[in-house]
């Protein structure tokens, strides 16, 4: 292992490699910041640039683009509530309220520190645990994956505030319904396409994410009356230097959250198919449940812990997703699938032999992550006051610009006008649901996990000869199913306990 680390250091500690890490982080941050362009788009755009490089340099650059884009996505989530990628949806839950309270600089600084810590802790874990983690991921079977996805969905109750649990479950169900639109991959039949050729491939994640978050947010601003406002209410606070940095007490308060979420994020990221999205949602849910102090800002209304948890988890999961990619040749997420394609394009055979045949690539990518995280922090912290000033743009101008970027972002992916009509319709529906106080994050989570959930369910039932006993046959599956049940009942349990207590007294 130490030989490998030394080999990685030897490759990365050259001017050329460090410049590539810097360029990757900078390009990733800028592209990821644009609503609609996430890490997949960023990497896809940069792959042609790397064709002239050797495979090691190419992978170092693309890895930098990956975590740079994740950080950039967090910036747009925090500032304009427009997560360009599923992994940063949870970041908006508390990041955007913080920005609305005039603490955009503080939120961006928290995100930068949490991302740095998450990425660095995960990089250390990657070096130490990569071989063992690969074995563990190999042991996960389709029933376990099904139960894991179900757990992710059941945890929506953690995101719902009082009186909203039922609505959150309904929205999860709606998200799952939307995920069934298009061609069923197992049988090849069309479902809910109504003869519309544009729906054969289903609804794209980007379209739904932009419609439910960025566009519906912009429409909400229009509906609530932008005319009355001349600028954002955050403007005065942005000029206040104090809002741009974290106080020592605040910094200390997020350290345990960041540590826990980084470790959780890394382990979730290692599981193929799970990735940054589940990691960020689980970390958010876990921290929400762990926070008991009445003095703290509640989750969903601008909690620094609520922002730090998903931020450190999604960056750690990005690093973790390199484990199945580099050791097994299995992409852990959509983004690592693109990276896998890049590896193949460089003429490298991904798989367990990569560790043995191409140790320079393996270790250089891992070691470059340490430096990438440092560069990301150095690059972004001084820029925070300038990035945060985006909020100084009056809403009269900001709202049409958000609408323009949202529509253009979706159009540039498919070049299909039908997608624009669908997006406008879904944004209007999302606006109506928001007015009815329905939370939209569970909808998006249900949509993201729907395909994988059905895929693993079909595989599990088929492998068990049509029987459903797989749900309790394996220890891992049973544990996850019990956790699902507890998560579903979590809103009822305190009431039941209270009722039983008062019942005993009377």
């Amino acid at each position: 292992m130490f030989d490998g680390i030394l080999l990685g250091l030897e490759t990365v500690l050259t001017l050329n490699s460090l410049m590539l890490v810097f360029a990757g982080c900078a390009a990733g941050t800028i592209i990821g910041m644009l609503p609609g362009l996430g890490p997949i788009s960023a990497i896809a755009l940069m792959i042609p640039v790397t064709y002239g490089f050797d495979p090691t340099s190419g992978m170092i650059l693309l890895a930098g683009v990956y975590y740079g884009a994740i950080f950039g996505g967090s910036t747009s989530s925090i500032l304009i509530n427009a997560p360009g990628v599923a992994g940063t949806v949870a970041t908006a839950f508390d990041g955007y309220p913080l920005a609305q309270q005039g603490k955009a600089g503080k939120a961006l600084a928290t995100a930068a520190y949490a991302s740095f810590a998450g990425g660095t802790i995960a990089a250390v874990l990657l070096v130490l645990l990569a071989p063992y983690m690969a074995d563990l991921a190999l042991g996960f079977q389709s029933p376990d994956y099904f139960a894991l996805m179900l757990l992710g969905l059941c945890l929506v109750t953690a995101f719902a505030s009082r009186g909203q649990h039922l609505k959150a479950l309904m929205m999860t169900c709606l998200g799952l319904m939307l995920s069934t639109v298009g061609t069923d991959l197992t049988a090849g039949v069309q479902r809910f396409t109504f003869g519309q050729a544009d729906l054969i491939d289903g609804i794209s994640f980007l379209l739904l994410a932009m419609a439910t978050f960025a566009l519906s947010e912009a429409l909400m601003m229009v509906f609530r009356g932008v005319r009355a406002e001349t600028g954002t209410h955050a403007s005065n606070h942005l000029l206040d230097k104090k809002s741009l940095s974290l106080e020592p007490a605040e910094f200390r308060s997020i350290v345990p959250t960041v540590s826990r979420s980084s470790v959780l994020g890394f382990f979730i990221g290692v599981l193929p198919g799970a990735g940054a999205t589940i990691a960020s949602f689980l970390a958010y849910g876990a921290e929400k449940n762990l926070t008991t102090s009445a003095n703290e800002v509640s989750f969903g209304s601008g909690s620094l812990k609520g922002l730090a948890a998903p931020e450190s988890a999604n960056n750690a999961a990005c690093t973790g997703s390199f484990v199945p990619l580099l050791t097994l040749g299995i992409p852990g997420s959509g983004t690592t699938a693109v990276l896998l394609g890049a590896l193949i394009a460089y003429g490298i055979q991904p798989g367990p032999q990569l560790y043995v045949d191409e140790p320079r690539i393996f270790w250089s990518v891992i070691v470059s992550m340490y430096f990438g995280n440092i560069i990301l922090l150095v690059l972004n912290l001084p820029l925070i006051p300038y990035i945060a000033r985006l909020l100084l743009i009056p809403k009269t101008y900001l709202v049409p610009i958000i609408i323009f970027f949202s529509l253009t972002g979706v159009y540039l992916v498919s070049f299909n006008v039908f997608d624009l009509y669908l997006m406008i319709f879904l944004a209007f529906v999302a606006l109506m649901l928001r007015l009815g106080d329905f939370p939209l994050a569970p909808l998006l989570l249900g949509f993201i996990l729907g395909g994988m959930l059905e895929d693993n369910l079909i595989r599990a039932v088929t492998l068990n000869d049509g029987q459903w006993h797989f749900l309790w046959q394996r220890g891992t599956t049973l544990t996850l199913m019990i956790l699902c049940l507890l998560a579903l009942l979590s809103p009822v349990i305190p009431k039941l306990m209270k009722y039983l207590k008062t019942g005993q007294h009377t």
Binding site: P48, M170, A187, F192, V222, Y397, P400, Y411, L420
Partner: protein
């Protein structure tokens, strides 16, 4: 349960959607072998339709119950201002952008969207409107062009006889 008109309407609409989803799930085409399978393309939609109907029914019933006094009142939508005319005009503007992007091309339709959007939301300074909309769209166009991403040029500008003839043939 927050008892407002949007919540009631949305709950009822979701109930109709869940029932309709279940009805259309019956029309998913299946071959003979799939019908015999313990799990097929209709299984998950059926499960979702049943779950969705139960949840939406519960929400609909609860939304018609008297208000729960303990719930936060700041979220009650009906007490906040609502600007339906601006919202409708903005939706029309977005649809106009979708219609015009292939006809007028990316640059012109985007400039139109931004300029009309600024005016709609209350900007009355022609200088600001022009100085924000045009450079922003041109900057995006230049970046995308440099990255080699195709952008709609606009069919109305295909004045070249050969281009028009080719288009007519298509």
């Amino acid at each position: 349960m927050i008892n407002n008109v949007y919540s009631k309407s949305a709950s009822l609409a979701l109930l109709a959607l869940a029932v309709g989803y279940g009805v259309f799930a019956r029309e998913i085409p299946l071959d003979f072998w799939s019908l015999e399978e313990p799990i097929n393309a209709r299984t998950l939609p059926y499960l979702l339709a049943i779950t969705g109907t139960i949840l939406a029914l519960a929400l609909s019933v609860l939304s018609f119950l008297p208000d729960n006094a303990n719930l936060p009142t700041e979220k009650i939508a009906s007490t906040q201002s609502s600007d339906w005319p601006s919202l409708c005009l903005m939706l029309v503007l977005m649809v106009a952008f979708a219609i015009s992007i292939e006809l007028m091309g990316f640059v012109l339709s985007s400039i139109m969207l931004l300029m009309c959007g600024f005016v709609l939301l209350g900007s009355r300074s022609p200088r600001k409107i022009l100085l924000i909309a045009i450079p922003l769209v041109l900057l995006i166009w230049l970046i995308l062009d440099a990255l080699g991403i195709y952008l709609a040029e606009g069919t109305m500008f295909l004045t070249n006889a050969l281009e028009v003839r080719d288009l007519n043939r298509v």
